[in-house]
C-alpha cells in the first residue's frame, strides 16, 4: 500500500474517532444542569466565572497549539526502519529560551486577574443593608440562622434578590464545605474557626447546592436549596417564619388538634387538604400529630419554632412548604415525608435520626401535623 495513502487513512481514522467522541459528549449538552458553575446568577459566581473564562480561553489556545503541533510532528516525521539516520540535534538555546518565555507571558496574563480576584473574594461586604446569614454544618444537613431576624431554619435558605448576603460558617461536627455554584462558590466549614462567603442573587430562582467536603457516610445526601425571591416575597417568608413563635407548637387539646387536621388553617398548604382529610377520618383512633410529635420523641431533636435556635436535628418550622426533605434532595411529597418519618435508616442509611417504630397511620398523622408548619 502506498505510504502516503496509509498515512491519510490513519489520519481519517483519528478524525472519525474524534468526531464520534465530540458527538457523544456533545449530545449530553442538551441537558439542563441546575447546579452548574457555568451559568452564574450571583455576583460572586459571576466574578469567578469571568476569571474561569479567561483561563479557559488561554488553556484552549495552548491546547490547540500544542496538540496540533504534536499531531503535526507525528505525521510529518514518520520514518521507516531503513531510512537513513536523521540529523543528530542536541538542542537549540534560542528555541528553548522562547518556549520558556512564552508560557511565562501567558501565565502573567492569568496571574494578574487571579490575584485581583483573590483579594475581592475576601472583601466581605459590611453595612446595615447586608443580610447576615450563619451557616452551621451538621452530619448530614445544613442549619441556617438569620441573626438580624432572630430566625433559624434548615436546608432551605431564603434570600432576597438584589441584597448582598454575608455568610459566616462553622460546623457542629466534622468538616463540610458549603457550595452554592450558581450564586457564589464553595467555602470549607471548620469546627474551630469560622469562614466566610458572600453573594448577591441577581435573579429570582431555586438554586441547588450541596456539601462538597467528604463528611462521612451520607456526604452524598447533604444538599440544600437557596431560594432567591423578590424583597416583598422574602418579607412574607420572614413574617410567616416569625409567626411560628406564637403558633402553639406545644401540645394542644386532642380535639382541637384533630379539627385542625381535618380543616387546615389558611396558612397551611392547600395541596394536601383533601387527601389528608380522607385519611385522618379513616384512622380516627390514631393519636393526633401534635401528640405523636411529643410521644415519639421528635421534639427531642426538632423544634417547630423558627425563633428558637435550638435542636439537635433540623428546625422544622416551615417544613410544610419546603421543596425538599432529608437535606435538600428528596422531593417533599406526603408519601416521601411519611416514608422518611417511618424509615429514616432506609431512606438515608446511617443518618442520626433513628427508626422510631412509627406506624403507617401515625406517619400520616405526623405528616398532616407537619404540613401545618
Amino acid at each position: 500500500m502506498d505510504h502516503r495513502f496509509k498515512r491519510w487513512r490513519s489520519f481519517a481514522g483519528a478524525l472519525l474517532l474524534l468526531t464520534l467522541f465530540v458527538v457523544a459528549v456533545g449530545s449530553a449538552q442538551s441537558v439542563q444542569y441546575p447546579q452548574s458553575t457555568l451559568h452564574p446568577r450571583g455576583d460572586f459566581a459571576l466574578m469567578v466565572d469571568k476569571l474561569f473564562r479567561t483561563t479557559l480561553l488561554w488553556a484552549t489556545i495552548v491546547f490547540l497549539l500544542t496538540e496540533g503541533a504534536l499531531l503535526f510532528v507525528i505525521f510529518k516525521f514518520r520514518g521507516k526502519p531503513d531510512d537513513p539516520e536523521p540529523k543528530q540535534v542536541h538542542g537549540n538555546t534560542m528555541v528553548e529560551v522562547i518556549w520558556t518565555a512564552i508560557p511565562a507571558l501567558v501565565l502573567a496574563m492569568i496571574a494578574v486577574p487571579t490575584v485581583r480576584t483573590i483579594f475581592r473574594t475576601y472583601e466581605v461586604p459590611k453595612g446595615a443593608d447586608v443580610l447576615q446569614v450563619e451557616v452551621i454544618g451538621h452530619q448530614w444537613w445544613w442549619e441556617f440562622r438569620y441573626p438580624q431576624l432572630g430566625l433559624t431554619t434548615a436546608n432551605e435558605l431564603h434570600v432576597p434578590v438584589g441584597r448582598t448576603v454575608a455568610v459566616k460558617m462553622v460546623t457542629q461536627d466534622v468538616l463540610h464545605s458549603w457550595w452554592i455554584p450558581q450564586l457564589a462558590a464553595k467555602r470549607d466549614v471548620f469546627p474551630n474557626r469560622s469562614t466566610t462567603l458572600w453573594f448577591k442573587a441577581e435573579e429570582p430562582g431555586d438554586y441547588p447546592g450541596q456539601c462538597a467536603e467528604f463528611c462521612g457516610i451520607q456526604h452524598g445526601r447533604m444538599a440544600f436549596q437557596v431560594i432567591a425571591q423578590s424583597p416583598e416575597e422574602f418579607d412574607v417568608y420572614v413574617g410567616r417564619m416569625q409567626a411560628t413563635a406564637v403558633r402553639p407548637a406545644a401540645p394542644a387539646a386532642p380535639a382541637a388538634d384533630s379539627t385542625a387536621v381535618a380543616k387546615p388553617t389558611a396558612a397551611g398548604p392547600a395541596l394536601t387538604t383533601t387527601t389528608l382529610a380522607a385519611t385522618t377520618t379513616a384512622e380516627a383512633d390514631t393519636m393526633p400529630g401534635s401528640q405523636l410529635f411529643m410521644m415519639k420523641g421528635c421534639i427531642g431533636c426538632h423544634s417547630l419554632n423558627a425563633t428558637v435556635p435550638m435542636g439537635i436535628g433540623p428546625n422544622l418550622a416551615g417544613i410544610g412548604r419546603r421543596l425538599y426533605i432529608a437535606a435538600g434532595w428528596l422531593e417533599n411529597t406526603d408519601a416521601n415525608l411519611a416514608k422518611w418519618i417511618q424509615h429514616p435508616q432506609t431512606v438515608k442509611h446511617g443518618v442520626l435520626m433513628p427508626d422510631l417504630g412509627v406506624t403507617d397511620a401515625e406517619a400520616q398523622s405526623l405528616v398532616a401535623y407537619l404540613r401545618q408548619h
Binding site: 444542569y33 483561563t55 464545605s177 462521612g216 442509611h349
Partner: protein, 613 residues
Amino acid sequence: MATSVLDHAGAAGIHPEKTGLWAWITTVDHKKIGILYGASAFIFFLIGGLEALLIRWQLMKPDNNFVSPEFYNQLFTMHGTTMIFLAVMPLSAMFFNFFIPLLIGARDVAFPRLNAFSYWVFLFGGLFLNSSFLFSAAPNGGWFGYANLSSKQYSPGLNMDFWAIGLQILGIASLAAGVNFFVTILNMRAPGMKLIRMPMFVWMSFITQLLVLLSFPVITVALILLMFDRLFGTNFFVPLGGGDTMLWQHLFWVFGHPEVYILILPAFGIISEILPVFSRKPLFGYTAMVFSGCFIAFLGFGVWSHHMFSTGMGPIADSVFSLATMLIAIPTGVKIFNWMGTVWGGSIQLKTPMYFALGFIAMFIMGGLSGVMHSTAPADLQQTDTYFVVAHFHYVLFGGSIFALTAGAYYWWPKMFGHMLDEGLGKLHFWLMLIGFNLTFFPMHIVGLEGMPRRVYTYPAGLGFESLNRLETYGALILGFSFLVFIFNVIRSTRSKVHAPADPWNGATLEWSIPSPPQEFNFPVIPTVHGRDPFWDEKRAQGGKVPEPARVSGAGIHLPNPSYWPFLAAVGVLLLFIALMHHEAKFGPVYIFAAVSVLFFSIFNWVFEPAEG
C-alpha cells in the same frame, strides 16, 4: 543463581541454578526484586481497577443502590490509596530496581538486602491494608484522611486504624528504597558516567528519591499523630481537645503535593528514554530537561496549599500559592516542548512503546492545562472537590503516569523477560486504552463544571448528571478491557519460544548492550562511559552494529549472598504494627514484645551476616 522464570538465563554461567519460592524469598538481586515489585504492583493495580469499576457501576444511573453508601466510601478510599501507594509508586519502583543499576552500569544497588527489605515491607503493607476488606472495615475516610472525620469519635471502627497504620508500613518501605536508590545513583555509577551524562530516567528517579526522602517523614509524623489520637486518646486533631484540623491538612499536603511529583517524575524519565530511541535522535535539550526536573521538584514543596484554597487561608496565602503553582507550568512546559523537539526532525518508528509515549504527551498536556486552570484560586473555589478535579488528576496520573509506565513496560519487556510482546496486540491495547480513557475521564471535566461534587455515592435525577455518567461508565469498561488485552499479550509472550535479541529497538543506553534477560551479574566487565548515549556511541564506533552479546561465565564476580533476614525483618515490622492495633487486648504488651523481638533478632542477624561470599 538465575531464576526459574528466566529459564535460559545463566545457561552458560557456572553459578548453580536456584529456583522456587525460597529463591524468591531470599533474593537480593535487584532484577528479581524488580520483577517482584512489578508483579505485586500489577495485581494491586487490578484490584484498584476493580474498585474503580464498582464505583463507575454505582454512578452509572442516579439514585442507584448497587453498593451501600458505606461500601462506596470504602471503595473510593481504597481505590485512591491503592493506586497511589500500591500501584503507581511500586510500578515505578519496578523500573528503579530493574533498570537504575543497568542504566548506570552497576552490578546491583548499593544495599541489596535493604532493597529486599523494602519490597517485603511494601508487600506486607499492601496486604495489611487490603486485609481490612475481610473484616468489612476497609478505610473509609478518603485517601487524604481529613481530620476530624478521621478521629475516633466520627470514625469509630477499625477502618481508619487500618489506613493510618497501613500507610506507615508503606512509608517505611518507600523511605528504605529512597535511601537505597539515592546512594546507588550517587555512588555506583560506572566509570565516566558523570551526573550530567546520566540517562534522563536515572535523573528523574534521582529527583524522585529526594522527594521521597523529604516528604515521607512529614506524612509519617502526621500518621503517628493521628494514630496517637485514635489509639491513645491524644488530641492533636480533635478540636474539642484544642487540636487543629487545619494542621492535618497542612501536614498531609506538604507530603501530598510532592507525592504527585513522586508519581509523575519517573514517568517523565521513561518517556525521555523512549522518545529518542524511536525518533533515532538524542534527547533535545538534555540540560534543560535536568534542570526543569529539579525546578519542578523544588517548587513542588512550595505549592501544597493549592489543595486548600477553599479553606479560606486569606488573600496573601491564596495569592502566593496560586502564583507558585502557575510557575510550575513553566518547567513542565519546557519538558513537553523538549519532548516534541526530540521527535521533531526524527525518523519516527511507530512501535507500541512509542504509541504510548506519544499518547502520554497528548494526555499529559491536558492534565497540565486543567492544572493551570485551577491554580487560579477563585476558579478553584468552584472546581475543587468536583469531578473537574477528578478529571484533572486522572489526566495526570492515568494519562500521564500509567501511559508512561505502560510505555515502559512494552519498551523494557524484552530486556526483563527475554520475550517480545506482540506489536498488534500492543497497538490494540493502546487504542482501546486511549479511547476508554478519554471516554471515562473527559466527560468528568464537564460534569464537574456542571456541578457534580466528588466522593458522593449517588446523585439525584434532575441535576442533569446521568447521561455523562453513563458515558463515563462505558468508557471505564473499555479501559478495563484494554488491560485484559495486555494480560493476554503477556501470557502469549511468556509461552512463545522466540527469544528477544539483546537490542530489539536500537537502544541508546547500556542495558541494551547485554543479553536479554541480563545475567545475574549484569555486566561481565563494568563498562566505561564516554557520552550521554553510551550504547549508540559504541555502535557508531563499531560501524553501526555490534554482535549479539554472548552469555558468559560469571566466574570470579562477587555478588551479594541471598538472605532471608530482610524478609524476616519485614515480618517483624508487620507484626509490630498488628500488635500495636491490639495494644488494648489482654496480651497486648506481650504481642508487642514478641513482634519487637522478631524485628530485632532479624536485624541483629542481618547485620552480622557476611554480605558477600
